[in-house]
């Protein structure tokens, strides 16, 4: 791991989708007009499929290597080199990012193909594929970035694409509001995340190794043990806690999950790709990637596990009461992400990543299946208006059912392998509370999923006559994708079979080198190792699954129990709360958004009236001073001058009488004056 093998294939995997996005954005409009939507499909799907082929080739190449050598580095160029912060644009392929790359390009490629059918009638077809390609690129940067800042580039990049795709149908204002909400809520998480990176960088700098390159952090992380951080925590706890806070934003956990249900405003393939299979798992990927740090912070691990468990149960309960086919799946996604966090939180990193993968299979299948239903229903998403669709849409029904069984954890479907493992690991690592939360959550999951299946595919059709007339199976591009994903939901979990059945776990072994650091090994190996106990707990879990299914079956298929009875319990208050998602949106609106907007308005008012008022007052005072000074000048300074002239005038006026104009008068005057002078002289001399 100190000397990663140098490769160049990663850059092509990453750049192919970017090339697709560039073509679609710059020339897509023209291509679509000139060559039709086929050209766009060709470019948009082609680049991702090609990337997938490269990824598979790389995967097999990696399998051929010794496990301890499976660290590949594709170094492109020096990105930032300032103040000890030396970052490369480089891609890091190890087993973990390999798995993610396969999921992103594989599931992503399938969803691209599905979209050619689903979005076929949209005029902005090129724009859709441009964003979808860009998303794939950003997601690949996220998982392949060799340093945390490059990871963050992808992290925010997928946020941008998510924003743009949620609000893809931007003519409806509500869609764009959902996009804004997603982006802003994610930024709240990112706030914590970047501060974690600042602290980590500084902490590593303090021990003489300023770096944010992931593999170097892994090397120097042990030096951070015991270093004090902020707010009374150790540095590692502080950093990991903030990173997890960032993950709650991106991966929709309590308390920042609120954006994900709204994000269903986007086209259904987007919900499948971004808001189920890939982007929302970024948080789990990040925790797994930085397992060496998280393992050093038991307090953070507990927080992760408990938040994961709480979210798993909480979101599942909200899922019970939703009537929108996609909203149910959205809350289900939040809930399943909770399972993954619970897994990594208790130290079962491999189990978390495993569930991430199987979830990508079955949740993509469920979303695309729901998309197929919505497509057939002409845009209708309310399950109360559906029913009996299994006859008209057999492929959709069968694949949807397979995925439902998978998410329910019915053996041997994919979800059983991963979810059962998580629930057991929670108990085995001593997190009994988390275990209980996950167990109840599992039962509820089965309930709301079968509720959905029964409401959508069984019973009587409850929509309009026109809708019924138009019902049809989806076109091949969509149907084949459903079949592939349905098949993956069935067999995709066979790469790791529970220990009490057989010792076959190539998936876990493949990932092992990633989780090789000392603290991680300690955390993973702690707890109970008993196959018989594991089998017993597996049975308990399965009992809960059956109970959940029975409840759904009674209420929504056989209809021997009226769900109304439950919704009216406790005077309907509980049902109201669940139906309205516990009023969390309203709470945020009331406690955060409105006060913030009000304080903004207040500040703007202060700015315009008080701060600028002071400036204007200063100006006004200057003008007043000038006016007063003008008065002084006009009446005092100039007044003195005028007074002098007035006095002169007055005296002159009086004196002018002497000027008679009569020569005789003057002469008499002269004579008199001479006489007086002579007289005075004479008197003086006398």
């Amino acid at each position: 791991m100190d000397h990663p093998v140098s490769i160049t294939v990663a850059r092509y995997i990453v750049l192919l989708p970017l090339i697709g996005a560039t073509i679609n954005f710059l020339a897509g409009s023209w291509l679509q007009k000139t060559f039709g939507k086929r050209a766009i499909s060709f470019v948009g799907c082609g680049v991702v499929v090609l990337a997938f082929i490269l990824a598979v080739r790389t995967f097999f190449a990696m399998l051929a290597m010794a496990p301890e050598n499976r660290f590949l580095l594709d170094d492109l160029w020096r990105w930032i080199d300032v103040g000890g912060l030396n970052l490369e644009v480089a891609f890091w392929l190890d087993p973990l990012s390999m798995v993610m790359t396969l999921i992103i390009t594989g599931i992503g490629g399938l969803i691209h193909i599905y979209s050619t059918g689903y979005m076929h009638d949209d005029e902005s077809y090129w724009r859709f594929f441009g964003w979808l390609n860009l998303f794939t690129f950003a997601m690949l940067v996220l998982v392949l970035g060799d340093n945390l800042w490059l990871m963050f580039v992808g992290w925010e990049g997928v946020g941008l694409c998510s924003f743009a795709l949620i609000g893809f149908w931007y003519k409806v204002l509500a869609n764009t509001t959902a996009g804004n909400k997603a982006f802003i809520v994610n930024r709240v998480g990112d706030w914590a995340f970047v501060i974690a990176l600042y602290s980590l960088f500084m902490a590593l700098g303090n021990v003489g190794h300023p770096t944010l390159v992931t593999r170097e952090i892994a090397k120097y992380a042990p030096l951070l043990a015991g270093m004090p951080g902020y707010l009374g925590m150790t540095m590692v706890t502080f950093v990991t806690l903030l990173m997890f806070a960032g993950a709650t934003g991106k991966s929709a956990q309590i308390p920042l999950y609120v954006w994900l249900p709204d994000a269903m405003a986007g086209p259904t393939p987007v919900s499948a790709l971004i808001h189920a299979a890939t982007m929302v798992t970024a948080g789990i990927y990040m925790v797994a990637r930085l397992n060496f740090l998280f393992s050093m912070a038991p307090a953070t691990m507990t927080v992760v596990a408990v938040v994961g468990g709480l979210t798993a149960l909480f979101a599942a309960t909200v899922g019970i009461a939703q009537n929108d086919i996609k909203k149910v799946l959205a809350y289900s996604t939040v809930s399943q992400l909770g399972y993954m966090f619970a897994a990594v939180g208790v130290g079962a990193y491999a189990a978390g990543v495993f569930h991430l993968m199987t979830h990508a299979f079955f949740k993509a299948c469920l979303f695309l299946g729901s998309g197929s239903v919505i497509h057939a229903m002409g845009g209708e998403q309310d399950m109360r208006k559906m029913g009996a669709l299994r006859h008209k849409m057999p492929i959709t029904f069968i694949t949807f059912l397979a995925a439902t069984l998978a998410i329910s954890g019915v053996p041997p479907f994919a979800g059983f392998m991963s979810k059962d493992e998580i629930i057991w690991q929670a108990f085995a690592h001593g997190h009994t509370v988390v275990w209980a939360l996950l167990l109840i959550g599992a039962a509820i999951t089965v309930f709301y999923m079968f509720r959905q299946v029964y409401m959508t595919f069984f019973g009587e059709f409850r929509g309009t006559h026109e809708q019924e007339h138009h019902l049809h199976e989806s076109p091949p591009s969509m149907a084949y994708v459903l079949i592939v994903l349905g098949a993956l939901s069935v067999v995709g979990g066979l790469v790791k079979i529970p220990d009490f059945i057989a010792t076959y776990k190539p998936f876990e072994e493949f990932l092992e080198p990633v989780f090789a650091s000392g603290p991680t090994r300690a955390v993973m190996e702690a707890g109970i190792h008993s196959h018989s106990l594991e089998a017993a707990f597996g049975f308990v879990t399965f009992t809960m699954v059956v109970l959940g299914w029975l409840a759904a079956d009674f209420m929504y298929r056989q209809q021997t129990v009226d769900p109304e009875r439950f919704s009216q319990a406790f005077g309907g208050v509980v049902y109201e709360w669940v139906l309205n998602k516990y009023y969390v949106d309203e709470l945020y609106d009331f406690a955060v958004v409105r006060p913030y907007q009000a304080s903004c308005r207040a500040l703007a008012w202060i700015d315009a009236n008080i701060i600028d008022g002071i400036v204007n007052l200063a100006a006004a005072l200057t003008v007043l001073g000038a006016w007063l000074s003008g008065l002084f000048d006009a009446y005092i300074v100039d007044g003195l001058v005028n007074a002098a002239s007035l006095v002169t005038l007055d005296v002159g006026g009086r004196l002018r009488r002497l000027q008679t104009g009569s020569i005789n008068g003057y002469l008499y005057g002269i004579l008199a004056a001479v006489m007086v002078i002579l007289l005075v002289r004479a008197m003086l001399h006398a």
């Binding site: 004196l655 000027q659 008679t660 104009g661 009569s662 020569i663 005789n664 002469l667 008499y668 004579l671």
Partner: protein, 104 residues
């Protein structure tokens, strides 16, 4: 004063002529009359110069001054008459009381 005519006689004559001139200047309304009065005053001064020159120790100083005064009087008469003519042209009279336009 050994009989005969002495300095005092001249001074007396001069005084009489000066007084006549002064009265003439002060009382006349006619500008020409005033000019004539001025001539009398000047000439009374001339008599004084000559008398003091004759009886005093100075040689020809008095005569020189007298000639100056005569020249000056001539010049004065010219300018004075010109002024009078100008006044006449403006006022159609040479009565000085009629020309009190400078009165304040």
């Amino acid at each position: 004063m050994g009989g005969g005519i002495g300095l005092n006689h001249f001074l007396l004559l001069s005084l009489i002529i000066f007084s006549l001139g002064m009265v003439c200047v002060l009382t006349r309304r006619n500008a020409i009359g005033i000019l004539m009065g001025v001539e009398l005053i000047l000439n009374s001064a001339n008599i004084n110069y000559l008398a003091f020159a004759h009886y005093g120790g100075a040689k020809y100083d008095g005569q020189v001054f007298a000639i100056f005064v005569i020249m000056l009087a001539a010049a004065e008469a010219v300018i004075g008459l010109a002024v009078v003519l100008a006044i006449y042209q403006n006022f159609k009279t040479i009565d000085v009381d009629a020309t009190e336009t400078l009165s304040g």
